[in-house]
Structure formats: C-alpha cells, structure tokens
C-alpha cells in the first residue's frame, strides 16, 4: 500500500526526501544518457513467495516500509517507522568497480514519542556493494552497515542503531499477505502504466527492545509492513498525497491513499480493505474520500497540516486522531523536504477501532521535482 502508479517516483521522492532525500535527486536529475532499461509493471504476474519478498533489482525503485505502534514496559505508547528503499540509478553498467552504484539504498527511521513532543529520526544513504549495504534477492534481506531488515522463518528482524535511539525488533506475521490492487498491481494515476507491484503485511506482532539515549526498554506492539516496487515516473500533475494504513482491532486492515492535483483537488485514489473475516475488497477512486479536519501549525516551519481526518473507504467511515500533533519530518537542511508522517488512532462513533499510520505530503511548498 502506498500511493502507487504514476506517483510512484514522486512518492519515493518524498519518502526518500524524508529519509535523506538524496534519492530524489538521483532519480529525477539523473540523465537518461546511460539508457538503463527498467522492467515494466504489467498485470498477470502473480507474486511468488518467498522470491518476491526479496529485491527486484531490475525495477527502478523498491521499498520495505514498516510503520506501527509500540507499548513500552512502562505503558508508554509510541509510533515507529523503519524504511529501506532501493533505487537503481541510470548509470553505465559496464563500470567494473566494486564501488559502482548499481543500486542505491536509503534507510529512514523515526520514533514518535509523546514525551519528547517530536520525532526521533535518522537516515542513511549508501550505494550497494562491498557487502556494506545491499538488498538481497530471493527473500527480504536489506541492510546498510549495521541497519538491517531481514526475513527468517515467519518473522522479520529489524535492527536500527540510529542517532540517539535504536530498535532491535522482531516482527511476526499473523495474517496472510494483503495483495493490493489487481492481483498485486496497484494503479497510482489516470495513466494505466503508472502502477506498482504492492503487497502489505498488516497486523504484524512486534516484540523487542528500544533505546532512547541510554535508556533501554522492552516493547511490544503491532505494525504494518509494505513491500512495493515499480519503474514509473511521477505524475507531473501531482502536488502531494495522503495515505493511511490501519490495523483494526477486530483484525480487519485498510490501506487507502489519495493523490492531490496541483490545485489540491483529488486526482486519483485507491486502497484495499480486508475484513476481519478475510473478505478482500479493492477500492476504486470513487470508493475513497479524505476529509481534512483539525489543523496543526508547525512552530518550526509554519506549515499547516490537517492532523485529524475523516476517511471514507468502502463501507468504513473512520476518523483519525494523531498520537501527537508534532510528527513533522523536517529535512530541509539536508534535502529540502518537509512532510508529516505519524501514528494515528482510528475512531468509529467515538470509540477506538484501530491504529495505524498517516502520511501527508505536499502541504508546504510544492515538491521540487527537478
């Protein structure tokens, strides 16, 4: 789940910008001179696991994206996010150098900590190779230096040793994979070629340890895992998007996104809803509505983000309230990107029905797509 389709690259851009942003420049500024051929996203190729859990290096971009809620031993509620991106730059593939940037890897992690009042976050960007960073094929195994996300058995191990905080988490699958879009092909815009391969693993059970500065604590929680890959360019009409992934308390799962045009109107929308009973429904643009509610104005950037929403997705109409207002990712100094991504609670008729993550991009200046 992630806004896919034509926005894929742009989406990555923001994610990437948020993580370190450099990738955007790479993807969009890279001249096509080398003429690298990227694999297209075409329907009719059902996922084969575990092969499709691994990297797809022939596609332009790919990510493994974990967001979720944690509860400490002391009863603190926290949000967390761990992301690995892979990107294949358009370069001369003949360079035999071990340093040749055949693939770039970006990792970003953040911790939403109400006590701190704002995010902990860190990011890394590396070229793949020399065994120092890579995304393996065949099964989920991505790493940058000591940061890693690895699949083993029914579980994923996420280890992040970031600036001021660290995660050492086990994420266990509790449900079958949620295949987004039509047989895993998720459309991101009016043009049919703007699509991605996309599956999600909702309701992952999380257990492990979390360190903030030197304070270490055991945590448990529930997460949402996305794996998505594509080769498409960003839709030039897009200015930003809104995305949610919600684990309902009853076992249902919802992914929904909306892409906004230059004038702020919805341009495309979509999603997947799986009921507690396992009943799958692919959401078409007409099935998804995002209504902005309360706004929070960032004291640092002055940007107003709608941090409360009412979202209609198929049969569900839920309201979203943030774990804390300030979950703004400000990476202007290094990348120029500012966006909001954070833990939210989902309400139906004033009672909590689930928890998830909300991502809001394009509320500051228009994304610079050079």
């Amino acid at each position: 789940m992630r806004p896919g389709g034509c926005l894929l690259a742009g989406y990555l851009l923001t994610r990437c910008l948020l993580t370190g942003c450099l990738l955007s420049g790479c993807l969009l500024a890279m001249p096509a001179a080398a003429g690298t051929q990227y694999a297209p996203v075409v329907p009719g190729h059902p996922f084969r696991f575990p092969a499709d859990l691994g990297s797809h290096p022939e596609f332009r971009t790919e990510w493994w994206y974990v967001t979720g809620w944690l509860m400490t031993e002391q009863g603190e509620s926290l949000g967390f996010q761990i992301t690995f991106f892979r990107s294949k730059p358009d370069i001369d593939a003949n360079n035999p150098s071990a340093f040749s940037p055949r693939q770039l890897l970006v990792a970003h992690c953040a911790l939403s900590d109400p006590k701190r009042g704002r995010l902990w976050q860190d990011q890394r960007i590396r070229r793949a190779g020399l065994n120092l960073a890579d995304a393996a094929e065949g099964d989920t195994n991505v790493w940058i230096d000591t940061w890693s996300l690895r699949h083993a058995g029914q579980s994923y191990a996420a280890k992040i040793d970031a600036d001021g905080f660290s995660f050492d988490l086990m994420l266990a699958e509790t449900q079958a994979a949620l295949i987004n879009g039509q047989g895993g092909v998720s459309r991101k815009g009016p043009q049919p070629e703007a699509s991605s391969y996309y599956y999600s693993l909702p309701h992952m059970r999380v257990a492990g340890t979390l360190s903030r500065n030197t304070a270490k604590t055991r945590v448990t929680g529930e997460a949402w895992f996305d794996h998505e890959w594509s080769s498409e360019y960003l839709d030039p009409e897009a200015t930003g998007w809104d995305w949610i992934g919600v684990n309902f308390n009853d076992g249902a799962a919802l992914m929904a996104f909306r892409i906004r045009s230059l004038h702020g109107e919805p341009r495309w929308a979509g999603g997947t809803l799986r009921g507690a009973d396992g009943d799958m429904r692919v959401l078409e643009p007409a099935d998804v509505d995002f209504h902005a509610g309360r706004r929070w104005i960032s004291p640092r950037t002055g940007i107003a983000y709608p941090v409360e929403w009412t979202v209609r997705a198929g049969s569900h109409e839920i309201s979203l309230r943030p774990l804390l207002d300030d979950q703004e990712n400000d990476t202007r100094l290094s990348t120029g990107a500012i966006y909001w991504e954070g833990a939210v609670q989902a309400y139906e008729r004033n009672s909590i029905v689930g928890r998830g993550y909300l991502e809001l991009t394009g509320y500051g200046e228009r994304l610079k797509l050079r």
């Binding site: 420049g25 790479c26 500024a29 001249p31 080398a34 150098s97 340093f99 940037p101 070229r127």
Partner: protein
C-alpha cells in the same frame, strides 16, 4: 634656546634636526620602514597562504579524526571494507586522491574520487554545496570542479576536460562548479567508482577518512590501527597534514625573514650613526642645554625620544607598506612567495592586528636601540669639556669595544657549529648576527690599527687626511659600520648565490647528459609511458639511444613531506654512473638491491651509507642497501634513486614517466620532438625539450628566484652608502671652519676637495676590505650552515671574484664622489664666514 622651558626639549631638538637635515631624516625613516615592511609583508603573505592552505586542508579532511593514507597507487579497497566493520568507527569515507595529468596543459589537477554519501558525513561543507547534483556524479565521465579549478582551466559547466591516463587521453564532463566559499583551491571531485575505472585503479583507494564514535580515544585507536596497516599505509591525525604544509615552506620563509632582519639591522645602524653624528655635531648646543639646567636624564631621554620618533614614523610607514606589498603579492603572485611549494591560490589578505602591532613595536625598538648608545654617551659628556670642544671621550669609548667585539666573533664562530633547531638553522642566523655585531664593535680598533699602517707621504696635506681619520676614529667607525654591515651581507649573499649557481650548473650538466628529455607532467599520478610506449619512442627515427625513468612519491615519515623515488638506470652500475654522487661505496657483492639517497635523506632522516633503507613498495617494505649519497637540487624533501630493475622487481611496474634521448649526429631535435609526439596517445601533453634548453631555462629560473634577493641587497647597500654620505657631509659641515682656515692660508678649493676625496677613498677602501673579509666569513656560515640546514643540500664554495671587485670599485668610487660632493657643499659657503663661525 629660551623656548626650552615652554616646549619639550626633544621637540626643539627634533624639529631642529628635521629642519636642518630632512634628507637624512627621511632616509633613516625609509630604512626602518623597509625593514618593517619586508618583515611584516613576508609574515602576512605567509600567514594568509598558510591560513588559506589550512582552511583548504580542513575542508578536505573535514570532520575526520583519522586519515589513513597510502602511496599514490594506494592499497586494496578491502582495507576500507575491513575498517568499516571495525567497532567504534562511526563514519568513514574511501578516497582515491590523484594528481591527474591534463591532456592539453602541463599543470595537473588534484582530483578526489569519493563516495558522495559517505563524504557528506565527513566533508559536509563540500558535499552540501554540491547538494542533489551529487547524483549526477554517478555518471562515469562526470566531474565537479572547484571554482579555482574552473577558472584556471577556463571551463564552464557542461564543458569537457581532457585527462591523460597512461598515454591515453580521456574526456570528462564538468557537471558543476563549487562556490569559491566552499573550497578556494583547485580541485576536481568525481565518484570513486568512476575514478577507479577511468584512472585504472580498480580495486584500489589511497585514502580513507575516519570518524570515531564519541568517547573513543582517538590517539590510542590511531596508534593501534597504525600497527595493523600494510607498509606504506599510515594512520595520520588530520593536523599532521596541515603541519606538513607549514614545514614545506618553513625554510623559504625563514630566509625571507632573514632579509627583513638585514633591513632592520641596517635601519638600526642608520639610526645609530645618524644619532651619533647629530649628537657629535650638536655637542656644544647640548652641553649648553646641560649648562642651562637640563638634567642628564632629561637630555638622554630627549635624544632617545628623537630616535624613537624616527622609529615610530618608520614603523608606521613600514606597517602600511607591508600590508600594501602583501596585498599586491597575494593578488598578482602566488601566495607561496613564488617558490611553487604551496599551492594556495586566491588567498585573501588576513589581517593580523596583533602581529602588526608586534612588527610596529620591533621597528620602534630597533630605532630605540640604535638611539640609546649615542643618547647615553651624550648625556654622560661633562658639559664643560663639551663646551670647550673636542671629541676625545668618544675615541676612548670606541677603544673599549674590542673586547666585546672579539667575544662576539668567538661566540659567532662557535654558534655556527650547532645543529638546526626543528629543521631551522636558528643557530646559523645567531652566528651571523654575532659575527656582524662583533665585527662592527671591532671597527674602531681595527680602524686605528689600520690607519697606523697608512703610508706617510711627508706631504702634510695628504697626511692630514689620515690624521683626520685617525683623530675622528669614532666618526669614521660610525660611517663605516653601516656600510660594512650592508656590504658584508651583500658579499656573503653574493658568494652564497654564486656558489649555489655554480654547483647547480655543474649538477645540471651531470644530470642532463642526453641530447633530449621528455617527461609526463611533473607530479602527476595518472599519465605514464607503458613498456610498449617506451619501445615505440625508442625506435623513432634519429634516436640513437633512449633511457626511461620512473619517479613517484613515497611517504617515509608521516610528519614529513613525501620523498621522491626515482627508478633509473637499467643496472645498478648504470644508476651510480649517472648520478652526481658525493660519496659512495661499491656494493657489487650485495644481495640486497642498492639505493642512492639524496643529502636530505641523510640530514633529515639520518640515513648513512651502509644502512638498509626500507621503502614501502607495492604494499610491502622493500630493503635497499644505501650505497651512496647524491646531490639533488630538484627535490627539497628528499629523494632516493634505485635501479629500474630493482624497482620493477619489487612492484611489477615497468612504466616510465621520464626519458633521456640520445640523437644520431645531425638529427634535428624539432623533427624528433614532432615524431615523438605522434608516437604516443597523449603526445601533446608530453614535455619534450633539449637538454641545452632545459639547462638554460633552469638557470634562468634560478636567477629569477634570486633576483629579489639581489634587489633587496642592493637596496641595503644603497642605504649603507647613504649612511656614509651622511657621515661625510656631516663631517664636512663640522669642518667648515677648518676648510676656511686652509683657504685663508692658501689652499686651493680643489686641493681641499682632493683631500676629502682621499679621505673618502681611504675610509671606503677600508670599509670595503673589511666588508669583503667579513662577508667571506659570513658566506661560510651561509653556505655550510644556513644553506645546508635549510635545504639539506651541499653546495661548493665559490667566490664571484670579478663581480665583487667591480662592486668594491663602484662602492669606493661612490664614497669618493660622496665625499667630494659633501666637500663642495661645505665649501660653497665662503671661507670668510666659516672662520668666524664658532659653532
């Protein structure tokens, strides 16, 4: 005199002095200004350059705690991977740093091949400036230039830069230009993968910048790391890189400062002689002041004040002049003061308020020291005797100087034997100062003894000149001192430079036996001639014999500049035969390959013949037996010569970057050069020259380098001469009454002038002879101590006889002319009034 009470005494004295002798006043001020200006401008230029260089180094090293450095051809990149897995390393960045040969110009360009993502952590300033464009660096042919490089190469974004690798030319594309603020020096940045591929260095890097986790003991980590690195690869503190730059220019800087000291020294003497003469001249007025109730200390302070006033004016002027000179040098020349060792382009003048004040203070202090002795002597004069006239006390005082003079000579001779301090010949300079001072102190005694030897002509008029000099020995000594100081320094410099030039000339002849020479751009890491190229070049029509050499930089000691390894001569016997050896032993039986070290390796590193020298080559230490010491004027930081056979055996590298060519008789060198260029891919960038032309050009460069030294020395001598002329005119004025009497009793005007000329010739001949002797002594210190300790090479002592004779004659003539000129001025007043004048 009645105004004494209402004005300060010194103001009256000073104003009177100024009014009466504006010329002397001006020259004294100018001499001081010159010394201060020279000293402060050298300091400012150097500080600015070092600052600029330091900033640049800092930017390049960035926030690294440790820099791991290897030789030019680097070390396997696996070392980087291993280090990346080392605990407590928080960030590291692999670099391939090369001086890249450019295809269409002789200069090289420093290129850093790096991983932008990793460099962004350690060099945030540079990578931040590149920003998202760093992704474009992934293109294999992409290079980012600093603005200095773009200016030098006249390249704009999007344009092509051609580089030479081996003998092949490759095109790079300029994808962007760093702002001047980010990095002010010449630099190119590439992705490390592209750099490895383009520069044929796959699998190798030669530098790794490391930052350690907070709390790690950097020094012990670095020492520990150092022991684990392969030979030739060093773990350095970033400071070492900056310090090395400072060391490189140290010797040169000290020599320029030496010139500034000479100017200041001369200035001090000028103040001393000016003040002494003016005190003598005014002794009766001063005695009158004392008689009228001015206390001894008031008088002394007043006279000291005069000297200090000269010092203040001169130093002010000097400080301002120094800034102007420094700004001009930085703007129009390179910041390394023209010696090419410190490439710090575009350094901006750094204001140094504290040091400026210090230079000002030095100037004032020098003037004060110069004024102190005459002021004290004048104040000590019993007023009654001074009123009556006569100068006997000065004579007595002058005679007492010989003991201290001898002591200083002994001290100076002893100091010359001491070793350098921190690579600087500080004791050598101290020896020079002591010898100068001692010689000056001895001037009165030697003058008296010398005049005793003057022939008696039994012509009273002629004897009068001698008697006059003998009588006024202190006056003569004063005027002599300034010329002796400046002339002897000039003689010493001239002998030193001449010796150096002769030795350099011989050295060039020995090293350039072939008809033609060719080489890749010096200092470059990328262009070379492969074995194939060498074979092709050797068979070009007209070439009888070709010999190739390989030179490369090797770091023996991380705190010193890299030395040059030269592989030349196919066999070890060839190698020995080709070198200007100073000492050697036969090592035919030795199983170890032999090496010939330059004197710098002997002096600085302490190697001796018979020692085994370990040279890190190809990632291993290779042992070489030191079989000889040779003289190398081309490589200041030292060099070692081994046979190509030994080099190739150790490294497998059979490439070359220099060659000597012998032509068949009657072959036109231009034609050969043209054919040579067509033979290899990068022929246009090859430097091809005839030995004769190179020889000539080297000597021209030599002469140009020392032109400024000569100019400054000549200025010093002119100032010294001015001192003599002041003394002469002052004496002549003081002797107006005497001349008047002589005119009364029937001496012709021209007889009097002739007498003055005799005196001038006598004085200056004495000064010149004394200066020649002293200069020769000083030149020994320059040649064998200061030169040796500054540059670590020997030169053969040689005296430029003809120039020195000519110079001596010119000086004596100039002194005679000066005497005549001042005599004329004194005689222009009529004899009638002169005989009536009492003071």
């Amino acid at each position: 005199m009645s105004r004494t009470g209402s004005y300060g005494i010194w103001r009256i004295l000073l104003l009177a002095q100024l009014r009466e002798q504006p010329g002397r006043f001006l020259v004294t001020v100018l001499a001081l200004a010159l010394g201060v200006a020279l000293g402060s401008s050298v300091y400012l230029v150097n500080t600015s350059a070092l600052n600029e260089f330091g900033l640049a180094t800092k930017r390049l090293v960035g926030e690294a705690d440790i820099v791991v450095r290897g030789p030019r051809d680097g070390f396997p990149e696996q070392l980087f991977v291993d280090l990346a897995h080392t605990p407590s390393v928080s960030a590291l960045s692999p670099v391939l740093e090369l001086e890249v040969a450019l295809s269409d110009r002789k200069e090289t360009l420093k290129v850093l091949g790096l991983d932008p993502f990793r460099a962004a952590v350690l060099q945030p300033a540079i990578m931040g400036d590149i920003g998202e464009a760093m992704f474009q660096l992934f293109d294999t042919d992409a290079i980012y230039l600093s603005s200095a490089a773009a200016q030098e190469l006249k390249l704009k974004r999007g344009e092509q830069l051609r580089v030479t690798v081996g003998s092949t030319s490759k095109a790079l594309r300029v994808i962007g230009i760093l702002s001047q603020n980010t990095y002010s020096q010449s630099l190119g940045l590439m992705d490390i993968a592209s750099a490895q591929w383009i520069f044929n260095a796959l699998g190798r890097v030669n530098r790794i910048d490391m930052r350690l986790s907070p709390g790690t003991d950097v020094n012990s980590f670095r020492r520990d790391l150092g022991t684990k690195l392969p030979p030739g690869v060093l773990a350095l503190a970033p400071q070492v890189e900056r310090d090395r730059a400072v060391t490189v220019t140290k010797a040169y800087r000290v020599n320029l400062n030496m010139l500034a000291l000479v100017a200041l020294f001369t200035g001090a003497f000028l103040v001393f002689s000016t003040q002494s003469l003016s005190v003598l001249r005014r002794r009766r007025s001063l005695a009158l002041l004392r008689a009228l109730g001015v206390t001894r200390s008031q008088l002394r302070n007043a006279l000291l004040g005069e000297g200090l006033a000269l010092g203040v004016l001169g130093s002010l002027l000097g400080v301002v002049l120094g800034m102007i000179i420094a700004a001009a040098v930085l703007k129009f020349l390179t910041a390394d003061l023209g010696n090419g060792q410190l490439r710090a382009a575009g350094a901006s003048l750094r204001s140094a308020p504290l040091q400026t004040v210090a230079f000002f203070a030095i100037g004032v202090a020098v003037a004060g020291i110069g004024a102190w002795v005459p002021a004290r002597n004048a104040a000590r004069q019993p007023p009654a005797r001074a009123l009556k006239g006569g100068d006997g006390d000065f004579k007595a005082a002058a005679r007492t100087g010989w003991r201290s003079g001898l002591a200083m000579l002994v001290l100076g001779s002893a100091l010359a034997w001491l070793p350098p301090v921190g690579g600087l010949p500080l004791f050598g300079y101290a020896a020079i100062a002591a010898l100068l001072l001692g010689a000056v102190l001895l001037v009165p005694t030697v003058t008296i003894q010398g005049l005793r030897l003057a022939p008696r002509t039994h012509r009273i008029v002629l004897d009068t000149a001698v008697s006059q000099l003998r009588e006024n020995v202190s006056l003569s000594a004063l005027s002599l001192a300034s010329i002796i100081v400046s002339f002897s320094l000039m003689v010493a410099m001239a002998i030193m430079i001449h010796s150096f030039r002769i030795s350099f000339d011989h050295w060039l002849g020995k090293l350039l036996p072939a008809d033609m020479l060719l080489r890749e751009p010096p200092g470059n890491d990328t262009a070379f001639l492969s074995k194939d190229d060498q074979a092709k070049l050797g068979t070009v029509t007209g070439i009888a014999r070709a010999e190739f050499r390989r030179t490369l930089q090797v770091l023996l000691d991380p705190t010193r500049a890299p030395i040059t390894l030269i592989a030349r001569g196919m066999s070890e016997a060839d190698t020995a035969a080709e070198l200007p050896l100073i000492r050697s032993v036969s090592a035919k039986e030795s199983p170890t390959p032999t090496a010939f070290i330059s004197e710098a390796l002997q002096d600085v590193y302490g190697y001796k013949i018979g020692d085994v020298l370990q040279i890190p080559l190809g990632g291993r230490n290779r042992a070489f037996l030191i079989a000889g010491v040779w003289r190398d004027y081309a490589r200041l930081s030292g060099s070692v010569v081994v046979s190509r056979h030994a080099y190739t055996a150790a490294t497998g590298d059979d490439s070359a970057n220099e060659g000597s060519l012998w032509l068949n008789t009657g072959t036109d060198s231009d034609t050969v050069a043209r054919m040579l260029r067509q033979t290899v891919g990068n022929g246009d960038a090859l430097e091809i020259t005839t030995s004769t032309a190179l020889h000539e050009r080297s000597l021209q460069i030599f002469d140009r380098a020392f032109a400024i030294t000569y100019a400054l020395e000549i200025i010093a001598v002119i100032i010294g001469l001015t001192g003599v002329s002041f003394a002469a005119s002052s004496t002549a004025l003081a002797r107006r009454a005497e001349f008047g009497m002589l005119r009364h009793i029937g001496m012709l005007r021209r007889q009097i002038i002739g007498m003055l000329a005799d005196e001038g010739v006598l004085t200056s001949t004495f000064g010149v002879v004394y200066g020649l002797g002293l200069g020769a002594a000083l030149s020994l210190v320059l040649v064998y101590v200061i030169n040796r300790q500054s540059f670590n090479w020997s030169i053969d002592f040689a005296v430029p006889v003809l120039p020195l004779v000519l110079l001596s004659v010119v000086l004596i003539g100039a002194a005679a002319v000066t005497a005549i000129w001042s005599g004329r001025a004194a005689l222009s007043q009529d004899a009638v009034r002169a005989v009536r004048e009492d003071w």
